[in-house]
């Protein structure tokens, strides 16, 4: 029913990100005849619910110093509860109140997000490298876009989050930024907006005014010298979207009023990829359709 450009918006689990403002912007885009797909995380809600349920939260730190949530089976249950039962119905209800027909989905629905579970991961604990085998997280290796396409064509706004399904059909946690990038690529989206708790890519993480207008990620390997902490993940997600054919990828502030419209108007950091003639590994790992 809609024929305008498709924008994929990822809003974080950062509690400071303004979900009401995001929903209002989505409503504006939809009213203007555009298509939108929303991807969300929910780290704040996961932590809150895990605390209430008395499930200890641990962090895995890889030997190259990337921190991720240790998703043991009890934590995966909390992740799904918090995302599918907490964050998502609130976003859907808010969009609905704004007159936007939206549909909450996880990667399990319609077999949309498929991941390969990492059966063994390394984590650094007290300076020692330990192998962890019960971590239920994975790397996205396939997007089946038919469900999202069907809904977008009928004028619905899909609201998507982890988990994905592993090779045996069991839920696994995946990175929501990279899920947004993979969906944007698979759906042939025109734009990907990754909202975060910072004004964009900063040269000095302590100085919000050090935001870069543009940032060029290398086609392979580490995403570069201003990629610290969670920003490294976002830049890898951005690269995957660019490699998958998404023309415009921006990392922008989710804490301001009208965060999506501001980002689309040019605030935040536009991510580009240094050109390379050969196809990258990332491109082949996320099929376009």
């Amino acid at each position: 029913m809609t024929t305008g450009p498709l924008t994929v918006v990822k809003c974080g689990g950062n509690p400071s990100v303004d979900s009401a403002g995001i929903c209002a912007d989505v409503a504006g885009l939809v009213a203007a005849g555009q298509s939108v797909l929303v991807v969300h995380g929910g780290s704040g809600e996961i932590t809150r619910l895990a605390g209430k349920l008395g499930i200890p939260q641990r962090t895995l730190v890889s030997p190259d110093n990337v921190a991720t949530r240790y998703t043991d089976p009890a934590t995966l249950e909390v992740v799904v509860l918090a995302l599918a039962g907490g964050v998502k119905p609130k976003l859907v209800a808010e969009l609905s109140r704004l007159g936007v027909p939206s549909v909450g989905l996880t990667g399990l629905d319609g077999g949309m997000l498929r991941a390969r579970r990492k059966s063994v991961v390394r984590s650094v604990v007290d300076g020692k490298t330990i192998l962890i085998r019960d971590n239920l997280s994975g790397r996205l290796d396939e997007v089946r876009p038919r469900l999202a396409e069907t809904l977008l064509q009928s004028g619905f706004v899909p609201v998507v989050s982890p988990p994905a399904a592993d090779e045996h059909g069991h839920p696994v946690n995946v990175d929501a930024d990279r899920a947004a990038a993979a969906l944007a690529a698979a759906l042939g989206a025109d734009r990907l907006v990754l909202l975060t708790g910072a004004p964009g890519v900063l040269t000095d993480p302590g100085d919000d005014t050090s935001v870069l207008d543009t940032y060029e990620v290398p086609t392979t390997g580490a995403p570069g010298r201003f990629a610290r902490g969670g920003m490294a993940l976002k830049l890898i997600a951005a690269r995957e979207a660019l490699a998958g054919g998404v023309a415009s990828v921006r990392i922008a502030d989710g804490r301001v009023p009208g965060p999506v419209s501001r980002a689309l108007a040019g605030s935040g950091t536009a991510v580009t990829m240094s050109p390379l003639p050969v196809p990258t590994a990332d491109r082949s790992s996320v099929p376009g359709n």
Binding site: S62, T68, K118, V120, R122, T129, I130, L131, S137, R139
Partner: protein, 57 residues
């Protein structure tokens, strides 16, 4: 007291310190193979499984 085991790859001595942890990775000084401590008491070593390197996960 440390335990000494033979590297399953090159049979060199590998020292397991008293502070070692289950599933810890240690490198064999003789052949540089990564070994995993599969059990502490008794100490059991095996070649560590390959772990996919994946930026950003």
């Amino acid at each position: 007291m440390s335990t000494i085991l033979a590297c399953p790859e090159c049979e060199d001595d590998v020292e397991i310190s008293p502070s070692a942890r289950l599933n810890e990775i240690i490198d064999c000084a003789g052949c540089s193979t990564e070994l995993e401590i599969l059990s502490l008491c008794p100490a059991v070593l095996a070649c560590a499984p390959e772990v996919e390197e994946d930026w950003g996960e």
